[in-house]
Amino acid sequence: MQDLSLLTETLMFLGFTGGAGIFIWIGIVLYLKSKWLPLLEDILDNGVRFYTLNVFFAGQGVLQYGTVFLSSFHAKRFGMYEKRDKVPKHIQRQFVFAFCWFMVSVTLFGAAIVLHRTYVL
């Protein structure tokens, strides 16, 4: 048996936490796809069905709408600044939460990969 170094323990913490976070996020995307994504496509994209085509695009949709709800600049850029006010606040919060959850998880997992490539390889 061998003791783990501080670096390895850090990498394991970042890798497992980030990996589990990304895995859970897929579940969140599936929930949002079935529950709210069609409604947001109706309100924000004039009913164009794109993000609800499949899970891959649904993931993109969650990040796209999360960005629109978080940033006025991007909302204006996509012509959704006024339209986003028509989306109930509790739905907006779910998309913002999913966006933040994904970004934190990916950052942890990405940091683990960068540290691994910098200090181990």
Partner: protein, 340 residues
């Protein structure tokens, strides 16, 4: 065509046409000897009744090979798994697999996510074609029901836009041909949408019109391709998953139990982290490229391609580096557990 990295100096070939096994050997080897015939049949003992079937995989060993190696024994397990899956496919599905096999085998070496992305892209392609077809049919029917003809300005404008969209969708690079009349070019004549003939049939039919005569065949072509892609995609995943399993089995067959246990940790870590890294990388790359940098509007061809290209590139990078990291984590975990 090589599919599994562990079969160096050998090649995996996917059968493109049903034929006697002797004929396949003659095609694959330059003047094969008696030994080559014997060895080929021994290594590929999954071939039944001396006939190779479309979609079956066979292993091509060097012409002078005499003994059966570990890799060859491992290959047989993969070949049998493929045969089992092939039983569920129709002839047209098997042919599609043959046509797409090179693509599958190239990406199978990296991770399953890319396969998922490409399959997803194909599926999205068929969904989009189907929705444009529906719009075209609606435009024809609505024009006839409201004005009793198919030569008003509004109808021509809408039809022109929809034909252009369908043509663009059918011309997409690297998408599977949908078959039937669904080919790019002159959409109106390819789909057989002669206004005179349609109006003639509708006037004979009378009453409220809801569909274009014989147009349902186009939906059937799209539906069939969509089903084919789904099932062929599953087979591709069997081949991909076979890679990690084969590496573990190889380590457990050739080496001692410590190496075998270590392989279980490293290969599982590699496979898991490459999928997670692939998903993360693909999503981040698509979001950063399509949403942040280019601000691509939703639903158009640009959004579709931006997502596929950026997603594939990000997925590949994430899968590759994630896999390396996962292998390292697996090894560290194995050493810390002191598993012998």
């Amino acid at each position: 065509m090589e599919a599994l990295p562990s079969t160096q100096n050998k090649a995996i070939h996917i059968v493109e046409k049903q034929m006697p096994v002797d004929q396949l050997i003659m095609i694959m080897y330059n003047s094969p000897s008696e030994n080559t015939y014997k060895h080929f049949k021994m290594v590929n003992s999954h071939i039944k009744n001396g006939i190779v079937q479309v979609g079956q995989v066979v292993l091509l060993s060097p012409a002078d090979a005499q003994e059966c190696t570990i890799e060859e024994a491992e290959f047989l397990k993969v070949a049998k798994a493929v045969d089992l899956t092939l039983l569920k496919l129709s002839n047209s599905e098997k042919q599609l697999l043959v046509n797409r096999y090179e693509f599958f085998s190239n990406i199978a070496s990296y991770n399953g996510l890319l396969l998922g992305v490409s399959n997803t892209a194909w599926k999205a392609h068929t969904v989009q074609v189907k929705s444009i077809l529906k719009e075209i049919e609606r435009t024809y029917v609505a024009s006839y029901n409201s004005s009793g003809n198919l030569h008003n300005r509004n109808f021509f404008t809408q039809r022109k836009i929809q034909f252009a969209r369908l043509n663009a969708a059918l011309s997409r690079f690297s998408q599977p041909a949908l078959g039937g009349k669904l080919v790019s070019g002159d959409i109106r004549s390819n789909l057989g949408l002669s206004s005179k003939s349609i109006i003639h049939q509708w006037s004979k039919q009378g009453g409220n019109i809801t569909t274009i005569p014989n147009f349902h065949k186009n939906y059937a072509a799209v539906a069939e391709m969509s089903r084919n892609l789904k099932r062929v995609g599953h087979l591709g995943i069997v081949l991909t998953g076979g890679d990690a399993v084969a590496n573990i089995q190889k380590a457990c067959t050739v080496s001692d139990s410590a190496t075998c246990n270590k392989a279980k940790y490293t290969e599982t870590g590699k496979a898991g982290a490459s999928v997670i890294g692939g998903i993360g990388g693909g999503m981040v790359a698509t979001w950063a490229t399509c949403t942040l940098v280019f601000g691509v509007p939703t639903g158009g061809t640009s959004a579709f391609w931006c997502a596929v290209v950026a997603g594939s590139a990000g997925g590949y990078a994430g899968g590759k580096y994630g896999g390396e990291f996962g292998g390292f984590l697996g090894e560290e975990l194995y050493m810390s557990k002191g598993v012998k």
